[in-house]
């Protein structure tokens, strides 16, 4: 029997695919010893360098000049490549595009919003009046659904059992991953988010009264004014809400809400290692500390799959800015985004893979 078991073939391509994902996860973790040895001195050195630069007359002049402009100086004239592995999904007036790590771009169609499927095998994309499941490598449409005023398509679940949530005419709907069984859930206005790490299809959304609710779960919060964005932590235990006056972290198991008094947050996203990034005005805040201040208002945010880089958009400057969040702080800016993607694109997700 042992010989028969050993004769069961092992798919070498599966092994390579899995190793690619596991390697990314391994690269994203930081060994304890390395953190202890380097985090303190590196922080002191960076702080000292920044202080020296800011206090010296030339440094102050540079800082002021940058502040006066709306964009980041020295930006690359185009997006030649991504600074990290993975595929970036963007959508806007110029359609939906997949950007590979080598900078190559593929236009999927005339969609205005999109998101990745749970394992980035597919993309769910929306035009004004249509929802479609699309292959990212070819743009081939697997199914489509005609609905009025479609917004915020979001695909969740496991590799073998998925659901797509979307808004149509102000109502939150859920349809199975094969495009069947469409049903209305509630009224809603902001993008819903699927809880990761579970096969129970738990969807978090904000209802018409501003309460955070779970479809498929029992949780319901009090009403919040100006709810703008939701995000799950990667372990599915914490749900973050950006409202007008605060950010609220809900511990779903207990229902307890922890309030961060950070008003004006417009976008938020968790990295694969659990760090929470928020965009507020011109600032990117990670785990409560300001990581980066841009010369003009920031919009949208996306973590690289490894969690090493953050991408945000500067719409007024027609730029994207990549900020390295670990090790030496590096800021890479890219200009002429609208020209490259035929309109101002939103950041729809940065997924693993080639």
């Amino acid at each position: 029997m042992k010989r028969l078991f050993d004769a069961v073939p092992v798919d070498s391509e599966a092994e390579e695919r899995a190793w690619g994902v596991v390697r990314e996860a391994f690269a994203a973790r930081e060994p304890e010893a390395r953190r202890r040895n380097w985090a303190g001195p590196a922080t002191v050195l960076v702080a000292a360098a920044l202080l020296a630069a800011a206090l010296s007359p030339p440094g102050r002049a540079v800082v002021n000049a940058v502040r006066r402009s709306i964009g980041i100086e020295g930006a690359q004239p185009a997006l030649f490549r991504l600074p990290a592995a993975g595929r970036l999904l963007v959508s806007g007036g110029g359609g939906t595009w997949v950007v590979s790590a080598d900078g190559s771009t593929r236009r999927l169609g005339d969609y205005v919003q999109a998101s990745w499927s749970p394992h980035a095998l597919f993309v769910v994309a929306a035009t004004r009046n249509e929802l479609a499941a699309v292959e990212p490598a070819t743009g081939r449409v697997h199914w489509q659904l005609a609905r009025p005023l479609v917004r915020f398509p979001r695909w969740g679940g496991t590799r073998t059992d998925t659901r797509v949530a979307y808004l149509t005419d102000g109502r939150l709907h859920v349809v199975a991953g094969d495009g069947t069984g469409d049903r209305a859930v509630s009224s809603s206005r902001i993008p819903p988010v699927w809880q990761p790490g579970t096969s129970r299809h738990v969807l978090a959304y904000v209802d018409g009264r501003g309460r955070v609710r779970l479809a498929g779960g029992r949780f319901a919060s009090r009403a919040y004014e100006g709810a703008r964005a939701l995000a799950w932590s990667p372990d599915g235990k914490t749900l973050a809400l950006a409202a007008r006056g605060e950010v609220v972290l809900f511990a779903i198991a207990t229902g307890r809400a922890h309030v961060l008094h950070v008003p004006g947050v417009r976008s938020l996203a968790f990295a694969a290692d659990g760090r929470l990034a928020m965009v507020r005005g011109r600032s990117v805040i990670v785990d409560g500390r300001t990581l980066f201040v841009a010369p003009s208002r920031l919009a949208g945010i996306a973590w690289s799959p490894s969690g090493r880089w953050l991408l945000a958009s500067l719409p007024l400057a027609d730029q994207w800015v990549f900020v390295q969040t670990r090790g030496v702080r590096r800021v890479l800016a890219v200009s002429h985004i609208r020209r490259q993607f035929g309109g101002e694109p939103s950041l729809d997700g940065w997924a693993p893979g080639q």
């Binding site: 028969l4 069961v8 073939p9 073998t160 094969d178």
Partner: protein, 186 residues
């Protein structure tokens, strides 16, 4: 390493191999990608086969084995190097495979699995027969058979890995083997 690593299960590895694996775990904990890749490469085939034999679905087996290694990455800093890596990994693989099998009535992302199925390699006739016969067993019986005859754990070790009484393991093994023999000889 995690709550699922609570029981101290020993696998009778040669002393040298045991020491080598401990060194790999230590180096991986210190950040060596090469060391972790060696762990991955040496354990992937058995993890994948175990998942495949329990769930009978190549895409799900890949997913289960991959998720088990991701769990290993997440818990690497807490891993007790005095314990062997394999049993801890196999415990996660087999438990996830049992969970998946219980929930397999759920709807599939059908075009994805259909494409992946087309890419699957053709197993030998004997392996196909065995896989088909395994498919007739309950997931819990499949798991015990796979742990015993693919991963070569003793009934006592299986009892510890799955938090089961040893008598339950023995009875599942006996009944599972009887049914397998019948199916293979038909």
């Amino acid at each position: 390493m995690s709550s699922s690593a609570g029981a101290a299960v020993r696998l009778d590895l040669p002393v040298g191999a045991d020491r080598h694996e401990r060194a790999l775990v230590r180096d991986a904990q210190r950040g060596s990608s090469e060391a972790f890749e060696q762990l991955f490469r040496s354990h992937w085939p058995r993890a994948y086969r175990a998942a495949l034999l329990v769930v009978g679905d190549a895409a799900a087996a890949e997913d289960i084995a991959q998720e088990s290694f991701l769990a290993a990455v997440r818990a690497l800093d807490r891993f007790d190097r005095r314990r062997p890596f394999g049993p801890w990994l196999h415990r996660i693989v087999v438990n996830r495979a049992i969970d998946w099998s219980r929930a397999r009535a759920l709807r599939r992302e059908h075009f994805a699995t259909a494409e992946q199925a087309a890419e699957e390699r053709e197993p030998s006739a004997h392996a196909r027969t065995l896989a088909a016969a395994l498919g007739e067993l309950q997931p819990e019986q499949r798991a015990v058979i796979v742990l015993r005859y693919l991963l070569e754990y003793t009934p006592g070790e299986i009892a510890q890995l799955l938090d089961l009484p040893r008598g339950t393991v023995n009875s599942r093994l006996r009944r599972g083997l009887d049914r397998l023999r019948e199916a293979v000889h038909e």
